[in-house]
Subunit: 158 residues, 2 copies
DNA sequence: GCTTATTGCGCAATCG
DNA sequence: GCGATTGCGCAATAAG
């Protein structure tokens, strides 16, 4: 992760020329009339800086083709990985979303349970304050011995 | 989103030739002696199928260059978006992870609260049983409110 | 049937 | 020197 100038540098393309002539070795059919510069070690050259690194710069060179092919392979591999990673990340998102929902559901349930228990507590406190034991009137669940059974299904492991 | 054959088809490259000569119009510096095939519509062409769709196939054609340039732009744009999207996805993962942790913490807290309340309840129930209710005669367990309480401290979720 | 968007691929520069 | 990444352009499709 440290490429910025590459853009400019790579734009060497602009002045340069890239010829692609894809034929490793099996040249059974060679329809292309060989339009390669073929000016590697030779003389002239009009390219400004003129690098001329090695003889490997030869497009005809066997070595050049090998290097290219290897690089192409590497590129393909790298891209596959990259794509795979992206996919994995996407999947991770989905998984996390699901887990989130589960957790929220659990929170909801626990909250409800807590609320019920607190209500029970309050009511009981009232009863104590008012009297000692008024007959449980209507709505209120005065039954203290009937509470901890709703959580039976809430222990869904993780 | 449906490419599979493209691989094979695109490998037309293999027999074909791709010449890149990057010079929109601004040819201030033109060190390269123009090594373009220049055999678009003109000459024989040895490419097997030989499509020759239109005159737009001319590499020299002005229109061709324009289309190429536009496509290059589109490509760049598309790739930028793609990259952006990937980044966003990654970020989403981080956010979701954080939220997950928050939720789990909350669950832990609620569970603890619940546990405490339940214990309180139990204790109270016992008191009631002991005091209000006279000890039921006989050895039988007169405690009616005591059946499912072993789980008091065992709110171990996951 | 045009245009733009997306995708696979190869090249070259660069990084590690 | 070598493989891995990355920006870029090309061509074939897909999508609109």
């Amino acid at each position: 992760m440290s490429k910025q100038l590459q853009q400019k540098i790579s734009s060497t393309d602009q002045n340069g020329v890239s010829v692609i002539q894809n034929q490793p070795h099996n040249s059974a059919l060679n329809p292309v009339p060989q339009l390669v510069p073929v000016s590697p070690g030779g003389g002239g050259k009009a390219t400004p800086p003129s690098k001329m690194k090695k003889s490997s710069m030869d497009k005809n060179s066997d070595e050049y083709r090998q290097r290219r092919e290897r690089n192409n392979l590497a590129v393909k591999k790298s891209r596959m990985r990259s794509k795979q990673k992206a996919q994995d990340t996407q999947q991770r998102v989905n998984e996390l979303k699901e887990e989130n929902e589960r957790l929220e559901a659990k929170i909801k349930l626990l909250s409800k349970e807590l609320s019920v228990l607190k209500d029970l507590f309050l009511e009981h406190a009232h009863n104590l304050a008012d009297n000692v034991q008024p007959p449980a009137s209507g709505g209120g669940p005065g039954d203290l011995c009937n509470n901890n059974n709703n959580n039976s299904g809430s222990n869904s492991s993780q």
